[in-house]
Amino acid sequence: MAAALISVPKQAKRGDIIEIKALTSHIMETGYRRTAAGDLVPRDIITSFACRYNGREIFRADLFPAIAANPFFSFFTVANESGKFEFEWIGDNGYSNTASAAITIL
């Protein structure tokens, strides 16, 4: 299971717009590169990323080979209740990774 780095504020005031950042380590092999011998390196990318806030999907991304290795995303949401952010990455060759972070509303 690859390492994921998540940045979510630990605390926020109700109604604050907060930034969420997520990064996971992944080669994101495009499927267009060749080895020195001329063989095509098969595609191995993350195809989907999603973030849920207390079970509700607040952000989703479809990824293509043009997303750089170790995919990084930053996006925003309105903090309205204490709870949990869950992150999920899905990709080629059965790749799957999850992470989560808690937030407290003051």
Binding site: R33, T35, F59, A61
Partner: protein
């Protein structure tokens, strides 16, 4: 009977030609052409008009390394239930594939802004298109000069 034979021969030649063409494409992956860019955009927007404006595409105009190019797309929107950004789609002109990413958001985002890091195989135009709650599409584009290309170099 004779006619049928000729048809099948022609069919065979067409098939062989197609196979040869496919072979060439495989040897040297075709780059996304502006026509592919246009059709990738059509796949998302359909027949709807795409207007320039509301979208801001932040990307360096000159990058040394095409393997990781920071990019931020933001859209002018109050992000209310009635008026918000539903999705943001980013495309390129000259990578092997015209799509870069699709991002789905909603009024709960508060701010219509997404950032990521992308790959650019060549100096080219990058296009960001946002779909609003009313179904309209807005876009911005930026030209990027890349000194070290990504994607297709030897691994």
């Amino acid at each position: 009977m004779h006619h049928r034979e000729r048809t099948s021969r022609r069919h065979f030649i067409a098939l062989a030609g197609g196979a040869a063409f496919a072979g060439t494409v495989q040897l040297r992956p075709a780059k996304a052409t502006p026509a592919m860019l246009a059709s990738a955009i059509r796949n998302v927007v359909g027949e709807a008009p795409v207007r320039v404006g509301k979208v801001k595409l932040d990307i360096p105009p000159l990058v040394e390394n095409g393997n990781t190019v920071p990019m931020t797309v933001s859209v002018e929107s109050p992000m209310t239930e009635q008026d918000h950004v539903k999705s943001i789609h980013v495309f390129n002109e000259k990578n092997p594939q015209p799509n870069i990413g699709n991002f789905y958001l909603g009024p709960w985002a508060g701010r219509a802004q997404v950032a990521t890091r992308i790959r650019l195989a060549d100096s080219q135009k990058v296009v960001a298109i946002a779909q609003l709650a009313d179904g309209s599409f807005w876009s911005a584009s930026a030209d990027v000069v890349v000194t070290l290309a990504a994607c297709t170099e030897e691994g």
